[in-house]
């Protein structure tokens, strides 16, 4: 009798199932997607220029070649980006100082796309704290990691953390942080991703500008799909003329630990 009871309960709780279905989706005209970044640490400006394609199409992006991309700062210095790979435009030795405003203009097929943003204040990743914990059930060993750095007071700062294990990015989410709760203080943040003993752990702290932060925040609200998701929409960055994507400036500070 007891066994039957338990079996019944088992059915109750575990009747949910997931399967892949064939669902017809509407097609739409391809949209322009521009990912423009200026890395203050490597002094590299990069534009990845693509177009969207159908949902069930091949999983490669559609590059847009032959565009003209120019970067300009508030004192009038302009830098031309050159196409190194199809749809990838790069300029080296671009020096941006914190608080400086930069504008990017990309022209393709007779349409020009412009975006502007302000270089952030770079923070230095101070410490990585690791804690090794044995789980009470199953006895699995878990490595918990916390990142610590000092926040610049007064100005609002925005951060993103990119965790790597054995040089592979293992981010499950965009790991976005603002200093609303800790302006000017030391920020300690737990890293959600799991690491295993014996591996090389690397953490990148990106100090990002406000536009970058906002865009990725919107992006994170639409990529989380399912039970609690918001109404889906296309995040709109700081580009004009209906281009998807963003133009952002960031600096990178990293640390490595052999676990």
């Amino acid at each position: 009798m007891k066994n039957i009871f338990i079996a019944l309960i088992g059915i109750l709780i575990f009747t949910s199932c997931e399967d892949v279905i064939e669902l017809e989706l509407k097609d739409t005209t391809p949209r322009v997607v521009i990912e423009g970044t200026l890395n203050m640490t490597t002094q590299t400006a990069q534009v990845i220029f693509t177009k969207s394609n159908g949902f069930y199409d091949a999983t490669t992006s559609v590059s847009v070649s032959g565009a003209n991309a120019v970067l300009q700062n508030e004192s009038g210095i302009s830098v031309i980006l050159f196409e190194t790979d199809p749809g990838v435009y790069i300029a080296e030795n671009v020096v941006a100082t914190p608080g400086e405003k930069w504008t990017i203009e990309i022209e393709s097929e007779g349409v020009s796309y412009t975006a502007a943003t302000t270089a952030p204040y770079p923070a230095i990743l101070d410490t990585l704290i690791t804690e090794i914990e044995e789980r009470p059930f199953g006895g699995e060993i878990e490595v918990r990691v916390f990142a610590e750095w000092n926040d610049e007071a007064v100005v609002p700062n925005f951060y993103r953390i990119r965790p790597y294990q054995n040089d592979t990015l293992i981010a499950q989410s965009y790991n976005l942080i603002d200093d609303d709760f800790s302006d000017g203080d030391k920020i300690t943040t737990p890293i959600r991703e799991e690491f295993e003993l014996g591996n090389l752990m690397k953490m990148e702290l990106l100090s990002v500008d406000k536009n970058y932060y906002r865009y990725f925040l919107e992006l994170s609200s639409v990529v989380g799909n399912g039970f609690n998701s918001s109404n889906p929409y296309n995040p709109i960055g700081n580009f004009d003329n209906d281009a998807l994507g963003y133009f952002g400036i960031f600096s990178v500070s990293e640390q490595e630990v052999q676990l």
Binding site: L25, T28, N53, T59, P190, L244
Partner: protein, 769 residues
Amino acid sequence: MNLSKMKNYLIMALFLFYGSLISAQDFTISGYMRDANSGEELLYATVFAEGTNSGVSTNLYGFYSLTLPAGEYTINYSYVGYSSIAFKVNLNQDVKKDIELGGDVQELNEVVVVAQREDENVTNTEVSVVKLDIKDAKLIPVLFGEQDILKTIQLLPGVSANSEGGSGFFVRGGDADQNLVLLDEAPVYNASHLLGFFSVFNSDALKDVKMYKGGIPAQYGGRASSVLDVRMKNGNMKKWEASGGLGLISSRFTVEGPLQKDKGSIMVSGRRTYLDVVAGIVSDDFADLSLYFYDLNLKANFKIGEKDRLYFSGYLGRDELGTEDFGFDWGNQTMTVRWNHTFNNKLFLNTSFIYSDYDYGFKVQNDGVDIDLNAGIYDYNLKQDYTYFLNPKNKIEFGWNGIYHQFKPTVFSFNNTAADAAQEQYALEGGIYVSNNQKISDKFSMNYGLRLSTLSNIGGYNEKEYNEADEVVKETIYESGDFYNTYANLEPRVNATYLLDSKSSVKASYNRNVQYLQLLSNSTSGTPTDMWIPSSSLVKPTIADQVSVGYFRNFNDNNYKFSVETYYKNLQNTVDYENGAETFGNPDIEAELVFGKGRAYGIEFLLEKTKGKFTGWASYTLSKSERQFDEINGGDWFSARQDRTHDISLVGTYLITSKLTIAGTWVYSTGDAVTFPSGKYYLDGSLINLYTDRNADRMPDYHRFDLGLTWTLKDSKRFYNDLNFSVYNAYNRKNAYSITFAENDSGQTEATRLALFGIIPSVAWNFKF
């Protein structure tokens, strides 16, 4: 319209009612109608003088009053599900007569048993009203065998579930927060348990359920779409009894009885689920988990002399979800203290003080990180409702109420430091109303009324104005106790019934409802953390106007009841969010809102079979519900999520033998309007879905068959018990709860369906002694 003008209208309306006051030799018969076995008052029961067109119905407290010219009459008392009784009276003075239905009638020799009056659905002035017999509802199979009136109501036309297995509901294309859910007059702000799969209503504690989809009487106000008026049992006035049930995931127990026979009674009912305990047995993974909810209902009443009666009712429900270092709990509390007073045989007064709250708390304690979060809404409500039985042709109801709302938004603290949060808000919501149920001729009757509703914000509050970039451009500080920003609205309510013949009628209604509270919910399913906010200078109250017309016809000696109703609803100032709105604990949440319009229209068919071994109903709704916001879809109208074009329910109960009943339900509806991707792009090295228009796609159609079997083991006066078996989703349809679009391991993009409930058998044992 200014306030003084409104006052004039109200006074004029009052005079109109009193116009037909004068008549010379009239006498009144009045009293209460009750159930003979339990002493429970019968609500909306019918009293009429045979051979005349004079009749009334009891009010919400079972009181009636019928005034007739002097003479001899046969007065007939009837109530659905009971045998009617009638007795002769020589009306040459005022008579007080309390009547009990359903008892042993042979003792009373002046009384004759007549067939129950079954054509009330055709003859009364109510349009768009759904009544539910709680006894019948218990036979209908449900998820996990857990009886739930909200799920039964969803099987009726015009009412639909918000999600698979969910107890939340949409009424005639309205939003989920536009339903006024009342438990003994107290608003219940979150009527769901366990993320929506169960409602807070424990059927064992309930007496009467009534839902207004339209034609809402003037005494109700505050929500745009519907009113669900749930009344708890008073408790047996004659004898002590206990009832309960043991189910797979929950158990219930109710005790009720007289405090003093026929003077006062008490009822206590409790329910608790133990899904977590069960899960813990099944797998070690759930050993730390606590996941349960409980409900406690209490009601007591006492008669003080002939004219006064006091009631106390309370409800407490709580959900708990937690692990070792994480805890989350939420729930409602309501309390109602009521005083019924009969001034004379024509004027009845109910005075209520009501407290209601909903709150949640959230706590994480983990590795020195201590996050604490809580929010709530707290209501204090005082109201008076008068029923004046002017004469057999006019029943006047009037009253007022005032609700003091306190809104505590999400307060977030991190390592015991409170974060910059939204401010507390206060508001006073008021209403006065008057309505008359008038029998204009033998064939034509009307219920017309007017409600004046108001809302004032109260300080201390720092009111902000925002620009297009959602930045604060102006702040106004209101001191504590300051009233500011008052809204006032007149809400006309009219229902009319015209009898075509004794078995058919045409009904029509128009009503305006104004809603001064909005539920902020950014998710597609509701969550316990959704919070209510009051209207403000930025957030205008939602105004709904609804017109409906219906045709009602009974066939075959009232064996079959048929109705068709059509409606059009117009909504002003509906609220939605900007794309990407940060809703959780955002101090500037108002800046993220967008305001628009809504419209909903449809036609509802219902065919019921009410007698014989086989009973049940078939309902079909064809409808449309749309919204329009300048900021969404380029200002075009788009389907609301709950826009389900077709909605069918088939419900059948068959009495195989006196001990065995089998029941089945089949439901079908068009899939929800949702937004699917129409393409994809790559950004930051990962796949992002590309969307086009809001809600331009459809979930797959939903359908499901449930089967139930009730086996009465013993049914005697002393002890009753039965076994209830049910199978949810009997043909194991994989209804999509959600569809996600992502890359699979081999790099292919694909659509994945999550089906929440497969075939679910369950069993419950119910008893009563």
